[in-house]
């Protein structure tokens, strides 16, 4: 089932044409990886999907991004509910400087402030269990989230999205600040999460794309050069440029 459908998407930062006529579809309950050299537009694409690009001044878009039967690029789109459903995990783990507990219930508190304490407790337990942190952290829920290790922080940020009842998880190089062991841990978690969520991950690391993703898109200079099943794209690329990149001749 298609979760997000992108049709003829173009994006400009002032005069710079950052995304050129992109067409793609992201499947639900699958992991889609977006690879490509730095500055090729992969993070920009990710930030279109939850309209985080709105924070940048002077951005224009054209085309359509269909999600939940609506075009999220239209001015009528409700950003608050869009961003709740399409959550984002950032390159550097960014838990708020609050307690672990407050980090997780953050979304619940702003979207439904009347949830009783017991409901919040339940959300915290469920989401921490989902990211396999519950056993480690259940006794220090009221400690500052900044005291956690990098991997724990990144897991906490993912738990925050689960607590927000997101449907799509966007990941912007979520492992680039982690060591290989923590990276393996997060990847394991991604495989677990894809049973319920559509995951779109931007990564610099081609091996990571091979390891975790079902579909892969290759971006170059704002253009989606090739998009398809990960196995096929990495073993038998259709486009010469993709082949150059994945064989390491360039990038």
């Amino acid at each position: 089932m298609q979760k997000i459908l992108i049709k003829n998407l173009n994006l400009w930062y002032a005069d710079f044409h950052a995304l050129k006529d992109v067409n793609a579809a992201f499947e639900d309950r699958k992991i889609t990886a977006i690879i490509g050299p730095s500055g090729c537009g992969k993070s920009t694409l990710l930030r279109v999907l939850n309209r985080m690009n709105d924070l940048v001044e002077d951005v224009r878009t054209s085309g359509e991004v269909l999600f939940d039967n609506g075009n999220i690029l239209s001015p009528k789109c409700d950003l608050v509910s869009l961003r709740r459903k399409v959550g984002m995990v950032f390159q550097r783990p960014n838990p708020f400087p609050l307690s672990i507990y407050k980090n997780i219930v953050f979304a619940e508190k702003i979207h439904s402030p009347s949830t009783p304490r017991s409901g919040l407790d339940e959300i915290v337990e469920e989401s921490l269990k989902a990211v396999l942190l519950w056993d480690e952290l259940k006794d220090k829920l009221h400690k500052s989230a900044l005291s956690l290790s990098l991997e724990q922080k990144q897991r906490l940020c993912i738990a925050r999205l689960i607590a927000a009842k997101s449907e799509v998880v966007l990941m912007d190089e979520p492992c680039s600040t982690l060591d290989p062991q923590s990276t393996a841990g997060i990847e394991e978690l991604m495989r677990e999460l894809k049973k319920k969520y559509a995951i779109i991950i931007v990564t610099h690391n081609m091996q990571q794309a091979v390891r975790v993703s079902d579909y892969t898109g290759y971006f170059l200079l704002g253009e989606l050069v090739e998009f398809g099943g990960t196995d096929k794209l990495f073993t038998n690329p259709k486009d010469k440029r993709t082949e150059d990149y994945i064989t390491g001749r360039f990038g």
Binding site: N50, R83, N94, F96, F106, K109
Partner: protein, 289 residues
Amino acid sequence: MRKIKEFIIEKLILLCGVASIIFVVLILLFLLNEGLSLFKDIGPYEFVSGKKWYPISEPPQLGILPLICGSLLVTLGAAIISIPIGVACAVYIAEVAPSWIKDILKAGIELLAAIPSVVLGFIGMVTLSPLIKSVFNLPTGLTALSGSIMLAFMAMPTIVSIAEDALYAVPKSYKEGAFALGATHWQTIWRVILPAASPGILAAVMLGIGRVIGETMAVMMITGNAAKIPDGFLQPVRTLTATIAAEMGEAVVGSEHYFALFAIGLILFIISFIINLTADLFLHRKERR
């Protein structure tokens, strides 16, 4: 030759560095020496809790409770006015304002900081006190409230500029994280940015208040200088600082009155020291994080 030059320059810089400490220590010693001399004649408790300040009656009555109350009342009033406005202004500048308004506001705040306190006092005397007098129907407009309002103007630039720095220092990733969870701009400010900046904002508030407590000229001009324990903001008060400034010139050197003024100075020094220390602790807590 080059080595000797290096040596001389190094020692000169060292001397300058040490000099500032030596001056502070000398001032403190002088203050202690003169201030503590008073307590040969009256006990410290009697001095601080005495309700009557008649330094030139015979024998002099040296109780500074009215002056302490005056200082605290004026400071409290100034804090109540300047903290909410100052912090809100900092939030507006750091988070909300478009850049051209930001520039205008920052220039305005700097201008406010540049107004000499005597000018503020003088403006307060001719514009604010008559207004307060007529609005509240008082015998005089020279009251604690007038002092508080004018001092709020002096505390505001400090509070705004330091609080604004603290807000800017909040990592952008917190803001992005909150937005990405569907928080509105205001929810992001209230639930994430303000808590993250709170140590810096507290430091800003402490430094602003420190400035108010030590302020002399404006309060001397517009608070009425009556050394009585006030029962409200609408009465004339006299502050610790104004007492020293007004009476030092006429006190006989070596008299109890003279030593009492130094003892007041000592108390002010202690209060400012505690406030600055607290502000420092908050700032350092922020750095440790």
